[in-house]
Amino acid sequence: MSLSTRKTAKIEKNSSLWWMYLPAFLFVAFFIVYPFLNGIRISFTNWNGFSQMYEFIGLQQYTRMLTDPDTWTIVRNTLLYGIGSTVFQNVLGLAYALLLNQSIKFKAVTRTIVYLPVIISPLIMGYIWYFFFAYQGGALNDVLMALGMDQINALGNSDLNIWIIVFVNTFQFVGIAMIIYLAGLQSVSKDFYEAADIDGASSFQQFKNITLPLLMPSITINMVINIIGGLKLFDVIISLTGGGPGNASQSMSTFMYDLYFSRQDAGYAATQGVLMMVIILILSLSALVYFRRKEVEA
């Protein structure tokens, strides 16, 4: 190799090759970063979403948001959807994984059926459960009636329907948690349990002192993806309750959609979007930091 070609080869080797990620950068910058920054700008206006005219009104939308009682209902719901689904999905997902990690019958078919909803659209999953919970002719009320109990309007009751949304979201995505825990369990060496057996440790002690610490990486992953997924909940709310009655079961996503398209309140919708972004960032980052630290300890 001559000196000059070696030199170009070296330059080539150290260049960033930035043109290779330019298209990806443009996609993300144009469709995510630019709208996001523009959203912060709109949150300081009274824009109605279509007119050419609007004014900058300073922090008015922010003070309105903080004094709007709906905001707190919706933040509470969003946190319930995020944290509630995360707790249920992980407890149930781990229980299923522990069961299916044994050599038992129906293992493959149980795994398939529990996992199936993951690939179905959350919107459709919502409709499927709507047939179950519907006030008129719903499957649940048929059972209650047969038992001689009063029929309930589960989806129209604002104390009940937020939990039904958590339940349906859990039902749909528990399969992902289960699969991640199964993979985690299969990577735990059998030697640990054999040694613990010899030392006379009970199954619960083995679970607490061997299984759980070694599953920490799987727990981290599950917590973070479930929290992010739950906080963004949208489709299943639309199909189960439409956010109602009133705003009782809205999440931040559905509320923003409603503000923008039904109430032409674009400035305020953008302000709610900023709040949503802040909540998701704080929660998912703190979940990540918390569980990563646990991992090191374990």
């Binding site: 090759l17 993300v28 529990v114 699969i179 993806i225 992010i228």
Partner: protein
């Protein structure tokens, strides 16, 4: 095997069986509902005495599902291809060239993963209107590509770093091959396993997408399956049997694919979430 552990195993097998049944309940209710004629008010727990297959053809026509299926296929297909091409190209320098700029760009893409695309709904909508892409396939394709590019880049870059030997590329470079030909002839073919995972993740998410579609594809001619279904539900709240039939039609393509390619679906979706 002693008697007690055998009995324990039977109990656990029974438990697995019961769990399976419980998880099948909503699908069972869906099927009995879909097979009943309008005005058949018998309990959803019972199969209809007379099966009404006509619901399916009626739902297919009234909800315009043929057109919706085609739209969904077009959007999923082109978005997936774009994701693979743009994403793999971007990952190569980010995985291989540790310059300051590239380290920064990698962090940039990773940080975007946490951003909920819907938080920017208002300005995104304004942007789409101003560039004239409302009610086009392109808007759904581009939005989905942008939304899933960070995850795609993350998976590709991780795979290139951990499994593709550098020596292959260096040998080709000494032979005078250009970066592009090294990438397309040597690196890309070795990315098959992760490409398969990304394809499955992208197809499931984009096929099922409702959040983008409901905002940008309101016109009947470009509606996807989910948008068509939600519109159909709104028009038929007193004829849920038809809605149930439409829901079955809408979910069937993915369910069939899943049942045949289960191993790949579970592995692909798990790798996406494990690393995401």
């Amino acid at each position: 095997m002693n008697y007690t552990s055998k009995r324990k195993k039977t109990m656990l097998s029974m438990l697995a069986f019961v769990i399976t049944l419980l998880h099948l309940i909503p699908f069972y209710i869906l099927i009995t509902t879909a097979l009943k004629a309008k005005g058949d008010f018998s309990s959803k727990w019972f199969f209809p005495t007379e099966i009404n297959w006509a619901n399916f053809s009626e739902a297919w026509e009234q909800a315009n599902l043929g057109n919706a299926l085609l739209n969904t296929m077009i959007i999923t297909f082109f978005a997936a291809i774009l994701l693979i091409v743009v994403g793999s190209l971007a990952s190569y320098p980010l995985a291989r060239r540790q310059t300051k700029l590239n380290k920064f760009m990698y962090m940039f893409f990773i940080a975007i993963m946490v951003v909920p695309p819907l938080a920017a709904l208002v300005p995104l909508y304004q942007l789409v209107v101003s560039i004239g892409l409302m009610n086009t396939h392109e808007v759904a394709i581009f939005n989905n590509v942008a939304a899933y590019l960070p995850l795609t880049i993350f998976l590709y870059a991780g795979f290139i770093r951990s499994t593709i030997p550098k020596s292959l590329e260096e040998a080709a470079r000494i032979d005078g091959a250009s970066t592009m030909s090294i990438f397309f002839r040597i690196v890309f073919p070795l990315l098959k396993p992760v490409t398969a995972s990304i394809l499955i993740i992208a197809c499931v998410f984009i096929w099922n997408d409702y959040q983008f579609a409901i905002f940008f594809l309101q016109d009947k001619s470009v509606q996807t399956m989910t948008v068509a279904l939600s519109g159909f539900f709104g028009e038929n709240t007193n004829n849920l049997n038809l809605v149930a039939s439409a829901a079955i039609i809408a979910m069937l393509p993915m369910v069939i694919l899943f049942l045949f390619l289960q191993k790949y679906f579970i592995k692909g979706l798990a790798s996406g979430s494990v690393k995401g």
